[in-house]
């Protein structure tokens, strides 16, 4: 990312920080591949915030982490999350460009983080969502020392065409994960934390209000300055029908201005129509809030459809799994 792009983003971020905290998420690809010196330069273009803090996070496969990166993470406000799916057999899909398994290098990076007392979260993609996998997954990451775990059930997205499991099978995975988490509780599970937000609102009689509540937007800015206002997994892709998934470039207009105009961009409008369709048709809308445009597009070729495999496996099945766990606990 050129410094000029970072400067354009930083300008908007500074303005937003006058009203609320802002978190800048650096991800890729592999963000550490930009090199430590350039990464430090990019971070430095963002101030500490005006009125509220500006924080940075990085999502990394950890293979490039060395002593110098650990020193940077320990001295500047950058939170670290590692992408790893489990021990070597489970992580085998994460190969480098030469096709080599990256697990050993990722674990070496994690060990360096631990040695330098840099806290790290983790995100895992699960391609075999079974109850046994749920227990093994939780235990392995808790022992690894992850401060939190995000679980992505394998999705059809971008160049990735596989979708894992059926709804009922995946619900059993989530139920087993809930049971294991309930018995241990060392490591928060991102998906449960979100689901619990819905459950709390529902039990407080706020489900309808939750459905109407605005969701925090999170615009994605690509390395070359393109703005993807919704569903950042669309970044870098184009639709034959709708054109490239961008709402403009920060080189041409301020980020805030591009976002204000974004709803008029055809593909964004179609994505927003998809949310409206979800609201009208889905019993889970107050929980899910409209799904992911990227999943809709990569599964159907359109952004205005409703239920996707992602919905079924990562939303509906998850909530069913939590209810299953509640039923088991009651029994």
């Amino acid at each position: 990312m050129p410094v000029e792009v970072a400067d354009a983003v930083a300008e908007a971020v500074t303005t937003w920080s006058q009203d609320h905290p802002v978190r800048v998420l650096w991800h890729g690809g592999e963000p550490l591949a930009t090199g430590l010196a350039h990464f430090a330069t990019l971070i430095s273009r963002f101030g500490p915030g005006e009125g509220h803090p500006v924080r940075h996070s990085v999502q990394t496969n950890a293979t490039l982490i060395d002593e110098r990166w650990c020193e940077l993470f320990a001295t500047v406000p950058v939170e670290v999350a590692v992408s790893i799916d489990g021990p070597a057999p489970d992580n085998s899909a994460r190969a480098d460009r030469g096709g080599r398994d990256s697990t050993a290098r990722t674990l070496r990076g994690i060990e360096l983080l631990r040695r330098h007392r840099v806290r790290f979260g983790a995100i895992a993609v699960v391609s075999d969502p079974t109850p046994a996998r749920a227990v093994a997954l939780y235990d392995w990451f808790a022992e690894l020392g992850a401060t939190s775990l995000g679980v992505n059930i394998e999705e059809r997205k971008g160049v990735h065409r596989d979708v894992s499991g059926t709804g009922a099978e995946v619900a059993e995975f989530w139920a087993a994960l809930a049971q294991r988490w309930a018995a241990d509780r060392r490591m928060p599970i991102r998906e449960f934390a979100h689901a619990f937000g819905y459950v709390r609102d529902t039990l407080a009689g706020r489900s309808a209000a939750r459905a109407d509540r605005p969701v925090n937007p999170m615009p994605m800015i690509t390395w070359d300055g393109h703005v993807v206002p919704v569903s950042p997994d669309l970044a870098g892709f184009s639709s034959p029908r709708l054109g490239p998934f961008t709402a403009g470039n920060v080189a041409d207009a301020p980020l805030g201005e591009l976002l204000t105009r974004a709803a008029a961009v055809p593909w964004v409008a179609e994505a927003l129509a998809g949310v409206t369709a979800c609201r009208a048709s889905c019993d889970h809308f107050a929980y899910c809030r409209g799904g992911q445009a990227a999943n809709k597009y990569f599964e159907s070729g359109r952004l205005d459809v409703t239920e996707t495999s992602y919905c079924r496996n990562s939303k509906i099945a998850l909530m069913e799994g939590l209810i299953q766990h509640a039923q088991y606990a009651h029994a």
Partner: protein
């Protein structure tokens, strides 16, 4: 598109959560919070207010980076 069949899915989701409120409350005890509160950023995004997607990118105090692979 049809929903995938699930066990015991009679009643709305809200109703079923309410039926299991006691067990779910126990499960949620001491859990981290991840509330998708809206923020002042919407002041600059009034065109999108109330419609933006993305629960995977919430202001969340338990996972810092929560959607990228």
């Amino acid at each position: 598109m049809p929903s995938t069949p699930m066990p015991e899915t009679s009643g709305s989701l809200d109703e079923r959560v309410y039926v299991h409120r006691e067990e779910l409350t126990v499960l949620m005890a001491d859990a981290g919070r991840c509330d998708d509160i809206s923020s002042g950023i919407l002041g600059d995004l009034s065109n999108l207010e109330g419609t933006l997607l993305s629960d995977r990118r919430l202001k969340c105090d338990v996972v810092a980076v929560d959607w990228s692979r």
